[in-house]
Symmetry: C2
Subunit: 598 residues, 2 copies
């Protein structure tokens, strides 16, 4: 360990507040599933995350972003300091944080491992991506791999010896997975031979691990058309003998590197299967079941994208806040004396406004993604069947929201961080332009915002006869009732109360429209619906935060929570109410436009 840690985000008190005051995750420790842990363990794990993020991840962020990955005879070298950082992460057990003890993991609450992930992602999103992809791939095998696959491929990933990837996209099939053209043909020995290409695959070649386990979507010869014909395969870089010895190189080869606006510290590849030799793959689960399997993992991946987005926003917010406190420039409008000392820019009302908006978005986004992680824990650990089922349904409904809201608002938020720094914010000498570039990918990958809107309005709110929205509204009403104890929150309670009627009403109108007008017309504003839905949910999480803050000592931290909550309701939620009312009108301004008119 180095002597001094770089300061990392979120501030520790913020994370403790969210985990222990708002979500009260210590209560999870009373369930059998998490009974091995106590509060001291959780604290120690967060301590370790802050230490490793500060010592190894944060200091490397600018270097990794600027690192020029090169393809050298199929190989890609990574910076030495990345290897050190990743090793520290693995040695502290973070790769296995969320896995069952039986699988070699720490069996920690997802809320806590997500919180640690936020710290790593805020410090260095690209470095964290290598881990995040590996964890996601291993989770998928935990859910769908057979015993042999779990032993041979998953365990070494949990141990950090093998890394993983998700290989979905092809050049002609980004959002449209139905069009996947990669083929898998059965071989005599029960394995498969793959051929084809994948595009935009992160981390499919590097020197950070002994092996790379690619999870690949491909079609069998007898596959039915469309997404129902997709199967999932394990396609390792190196074949592995029955005893775990690394064997021959498999013919899965990186044939090109993609360059990107941001998230440049994780190598992005074009992947080719079986072009010059045999590319061996192993079927996961049953044939033609790949989409269902991938979408099991996809919920997790999408919430993780939202978490990454929230972490970029909090990092940019806290950096720009510190900068604004340190940088003297200008005087207040009332001060006409050019000889008086300049003030720190945080004193300028417009800078303060930009910081408050960032706080509302960034801390609201954190609250949203941690709430979802907490639902995952309840779904896994609750001893009450109904509570478990409800939590599962809420996770399903909230996944597109948790993916999108922090990503889309995060563009606004990181852009404000640049604006606080002015010309310096536009310079790579400061980290906020990197946060802004990195953020721009989040509304695109793992399903674009448009796809998330269709998922929410076309599918998720219809599940179980619309029970998701009913559950959500019931949870909001319970929290409003609790918040009523605090007179200072009366305005917020009234406004969120309105939403508990308006949101279900608008939802019903839009679902009815899908029947009456057909889905093409009725889903025109699915993205606007998703955005409004997300703002209502985040407003609710802000009310819960404010309720805890109002009940606690009136210090600066708690006063700040109350102030940011008020700002969120008066500025963000006000606009959202108008948007929801507008949505219910089924305005045809967009739907009536023909291509030729654009």
């Amino acid at each position: 360990m180095l002597a001094t840690s770089t300061s990392v985000s979120p501030r520790r008190r913020e994370l403790d507040f969210q985990l222990f005051d708002v979500l009260e995750i210590d209560k999870l420790l009373a369930t059998p599933h998490f009974a091995e842990h106590d509060r001291a363990t959780l604290d120690a794990i967060l301590d370790a995350a802050y230490e490793i993020a500060g010592d190894y991840f944060a200091p490397l962020a600018a270097e990794l972003d600027a690192f020029d990955y090169k393809l050298d005879n199929g190989n890609v070298a990574t910076p030495a300091r990345l290897k050190t950082a990743v090793r520290a992460f693995i040695d502290a057990g973070f790769m296995g944080a969320s896995f069952l003890a039986d699988d070699g993991g720490l069996q920690l609450p997802s809320t806590l491992s997500s919180a640690a992930g936020l710290v790593f992602a805020a410090a260095n999103g690209s470095a964290n991506s290598y881990a995040f992809l590996t964890v996601g791939a291993a989770h998928l095998l935990a859910a769908f791999g057979d015993d042999e696959q779990r032993e041979r491929w998953m365990k070494p990933m949990i141990e950090g010896r093998y890394f993983g990837t998700m290989a979905l996209s092809e050049a002609q099939a980004g959002s449209a997975l139905a069009e996947v053209q990669t083929k898998a043909v059965p071989a005599a020995d029960g394995t498969y031979r793959l051929s084809g290409n994948k595009m935009w695959i992160s981390a499919a070649e590097h020197d950070l691990s002994e092996n790379i386990v690619n999870l690949v979507l491909a079609k069998l010869p007898d596959a039915p058309p469309g997404v129902k014909g997709i199967s999932l395969f394990i396609v390792p870089k190196f074949l592995v003998d029955a005893d775990g010895t690394i064997g021959e190189r498999n013919d899965v080869v990186v044939t090109g590197l993609n360059h990107k606006l941001g998230q440049r510290g994780v190598v992005n590849t074009v992947l080719t299967f079986g072009e010059t030799g045999e590319c061996v793959g192993y079927l996961v689960g049953k044939p033609h079941d790949g989409m269902r399997q991938m979408f099991h993992m996809m919920n997790e991946a999408r919430i993780s994208v939202g978490a990454g987005a929230a972490s970029l926003s909090i990092a940019a917010y806290e950096y720009s806040l510190q900068y604004a406190k340190d940088r003297p420039q200008g005087r207040l409008p009332s001060d006409k004396n050019p000889l008086s000392p300049q003030v720190a820019i945080v004193e300028h009302p417009d800078v303060r406004r930009m910081l408050l908006e960032q706080k509302a978005i960034a801390e609201g986004g954190l609250a949203l993604v941690l709430y979802c992680a907490h639902l995952v824990d309840i779904a896994a650990a609750s001893t009450d069947d109904a509570e478990r089922r409800n939590a599962e349904l809420l996770v399903d409904v909230l996944t597109p929201v948790a993916k999108t809201w922090p990503s889309e608002r995060g563009i606004v938020s990181t852009s404000l961080a640049i604006q606080v720094l002015g010309g310096y914010g536009y310079s790579p000498e400061y980290p906020v332009e990197r946060h802004f570039r990195d953020q721009r990918l989040n509304p695109i990958h793992e399903g674009t915002t448009g796809i998330q809107g269709l998922d929410l309005l076309g599918r998720k709110v219809r599940l179980a006869d619309g029970a998701g929205v009913t559950l959500l509204v019931a949870a909001m009403r319970a929290d409003i009732a609790a918040a009523r104890a605090h007179a200072a929150l009366a305005e917020e309670c009234d406004r969120l109360s309105e939403m508990t009627t308006l949101l279900p009403d608008v939802t019903k109108t839009l679902l009815q429209a899908q029947i009456e007008l057909g889905p093409d017309r009725a889903l025109t504003e699915a993205t606007a619906y998703l955005d409004a839905f997300g703002t209502v949910v985040v407003a609710w999480r802000w009310l819960v935060m404010a309720t805890r803050a109002a009940a606690a000592a009136a210090d600066d931290f708690n006063s700040g929570k109350l102030a940011a909550c008020r700002y969120f309701y008066r500025y963000e939620l006000r606009q959202t109410k108008a948007s929801l009312e507008h949505l219910a009108m089924l305005d045809d301004s967009i739907a009536s436009v023909r291509t030729e008119m654009l």
Copy 2:
């Protein structure tokens, strides 16, 4: 000329519509000031702009963005193709387009030279910057230089032999020009000796011209404190003899290059004066008059920033539109048959929504900046004194709006262009990520958005007892009356009509608050006021466009204008009305936040 031109933005019919149908700039040709020109001349000049932009500017844009400027012993080399492009621009007379015939210019209407500038900026903003800076510097000398200075420095700039810069910012003084520390000491021969440093100076070193004329803000030894002590100096790279022969190298030296998120094709420098020798400068006008002079030019520069922003948005919009028409992917939600052919992504409602919003922002922004340029022409050419004065006042009021609205909304708009392209939009293989990066500077340089808000609400709307808003509202009312002839525009007329009452009312409330609560408190939401003001003005320009479209043949172009106008009113203006109503409440949610609470 090359055989084929790359397609450039805006589409020619769009520009013709704005110039000749909406602004009717041919009417300017009836004034003595522009009597030398006829419509055929204007058309030919636009033809030339499209040809040069297509042949030389657009094909160079990606190369110039990626060009790695290096400082080599004080020199900076530029790509060969940039020299060719700039030469074509100069040879066609564009450097002198807006200058008086007496000064060697073409004496074209500013509306037309601005329109040509939009075409060049849309094709290659960085290449255009070299020209734009030179034109700005030459305009300043046209206004404030003495005869000898105009002859020696301005004329060669109009001829394209010398290039110019504006050197304002210093490392410790970005927005706060009162803190400028560069010094100028009088020499015995009537010239001055400069010492100090400037930061973020574009184009202060390159090999595109025989000489570089830096216009530098500095302080004389007897300068009063603050902005009232700033003087303006000509500081050439090379001294020039009385007969125009290039003489000795002056000691103004580039000592470093700054790197930036975008607008990377124009070299950005740290400039040092008199560190190793004598740095000769020539005072422009009177001592301590630099701020007034610079701000004369600043109106022009700020409107040009807005124009550059609008050009980036239109380029990104038109590119993403074409991409959406060409790229097949996915099927409509109603089509469950995986064997049916995929549709072009423009058919997806959410993609159409993103294109329509881009159109509303991009073409609205074009209309705003061209309207301002047209006011400049009226101020210069009208034979009616009152009309001239009114146009001047309107330009003053609208400058912060024209600078900011296209810049801030342009971030949204270019971000949507990326989203339309999905993963490809995030790749430097396609131009839209460059548009997005370039756009991010526009809310920062030439006065941040925060500064523009203070300028509008703290100063501009107070000029001449608030006559600016009164004039604006009167102009809107006249256009609403004309629009009433078209039943299809009734809704828009009603909504803008509301604004003609609401905007002045809110303005009055906020001005009164400056007296009652003091400027620090009352200016807290100056940025929100600026944004709302801008949206009302752009809504007005959309109504004027729609009125012309409604009066013309009902083809796709005109139907598109009506559709985008409706979208703008229902989505953008609706939110703005709510913002204005909120502003009038003088909400203290922001003002009451203390630094420690952030």
